[in-house]
Amino acid sequence: MNITLRIWRQPNAEAQGRMVTYQVADVSPDMSFLEMLDMLNEDLTVKGEEPVAFDHDCREGICGMCGVVINGVAHGPSVTTTCQLHMRSFSDGAVIDVEPWRAEPFPVIKDLVVDRTAFDRIIQAGGYISAPTGTAPDAHAAPIAKKNADRAFDAATCIGCGACVAACPNGSAMLFTSAKIVHLAMLPQGQPERHLRVKGMIAQHEAEGFGNCTNIGECAAVCPKQIPLDVISQMNRDLISSLFKRDGK
């Protein structure tokens, strides 16, 4: 396959970025999108040009490190992480636009790499339990309804890649924040700090400068873990009930 790439190049956070066109020849349809970028970078290095910076780590779709906007869609045409997207998803001779996640709280560090530490600070604002729980308990020692366990697990699959923010027309991180909240809200361990957590994490979400949710649904449509849009509604419900708790808990 021969591919034409138009990639966002931006030397650093302060510099103006622009789209630069590159040709990549002899791409195998079985390559992942990142492997194709590796090929381009080897080529650029040989030519003495600056390789394209992009984030990646596990390359098996579980770490949440990679992620670029491909032809206007976060993680590209199939609902998965960029590392698990294969070149067979494109036709020979395709022209592919590659851009970084764009949102004010995700400033570009270089080229396609953005700073997502805003997510870490949202987690620090309540996305944990503070009770010491000791070692892993015996299975079924704490009975949890199947329905609740499933929902907690579905929400917990969020890998924090940031595709929801990249796709949201409002630049909102509500899908990420609510996935973390719902994950703990469905389990007994999450109950003592349930309402403090909601208030704390939403306040941090606001402080980071993320936008608000208008229930458009673009986030859930690109989520590689298919976190459903309804976790946001469940978070809102928890937030509303937290307003009626006198001690804030």
Binding site: R102, E104, N170, S172, N212, N215, E218, S233, Q234, I240
Partner: protein, 217 residues
């Protein structure tokens, strides 16, 4: 945003129901119009006060609705930051995308609507003198005009699209969307309310415009 929006949807449903009284004839409609401005809740409030209390309440809802919309619009525009070179929309509906600009169009339409029928500053399509004591005749006159009918037929599409996304979105914001099934039900309800409003609001004007019974025939 959600609470004020639902208040306004509630008002629209009442307004639509009231307009359907046109089919009951001149006396019934005029009596209804008079009752609205008359002694509702009397003697709890002095006669004629209710309409003003209600207007202040509605105006407050509209102002709060617009204030939160503008605040959130500003926040979102800031959060979005730099623009994508290549934009692809996956699931968003036209209604969802046009809530903000559509809302501005609605505000203008509501101002026009009040100037036309409430303050009667713009008596478009009807004669001020002849219809002075009969809102029924005013309605009849206005919607006999093709221009007025077209304006309302088009603007009501904007209203109903706004309600279509707004209704579902309001309930989601208030925490009612907890499963895929709830999402389907809320979206279905939103379509139902939007279509009901369009049909309900456009029935009397369309019957008037086409001179169908009981307005000519």
């Amino acid at each position: 945003m959600a609470v004020t929006g639902l208040i306004l949807v509630g008002f629209l449903l009442m307004h639509m129901y009231g307009n359907l009284k046109m089919f009951m004839g001149e006396e019934a409609f005029n009596h209804y119009a008079e009752w609205l401005k008359g002694d509702i809740l009397y003697p709890l409030v002095p006669s004629g006060w209710f309409i003003w209390i209600f207007r202040v309440f509605l105006l407050a809802a509209v102002v709060l609705h617009m204030w939160s919309a503008i605040y959130l619009w500003h926040r979102s525009a800031k959060a979005r930051g730099s623009k994508y070179q290549h934009v692809t929309r996956k699931v968003q509906t036209y209604s969802a995308r046009t809530m903000r600009w559509g809302g501005i169009i609605l505000a203008l339409f509501i101002i026009f609507h009040i100037l036309q029928f409430t303050t009667k500053t713009v008596p478009l399509g009807y004669d001020l003198e002849q219809t002075q004591h009969s809102p029924y005749l005013m309605f009849l006159g206005a919607f006999s005009s093709p221009l007025v009918w077209v304006i309302y037929a088009v603007c009501m599409i904007a209203v109903c699209m706004h309600v279509r996304h707004g209704f579902w979105s309001a309930f989601t914001t208030l925490g009612a969307n907890l499963s895929k099934k709830a999402e389907r039900v809320l979206n279905g309800l939103a379509y139902f309310v939007a279509i009901l409003l369009y049909v309900g609001f456009m029935l009397p004007p369309t019957f008037v415009f086409l001179h169908l019974a009981p307005f000519g025939g």
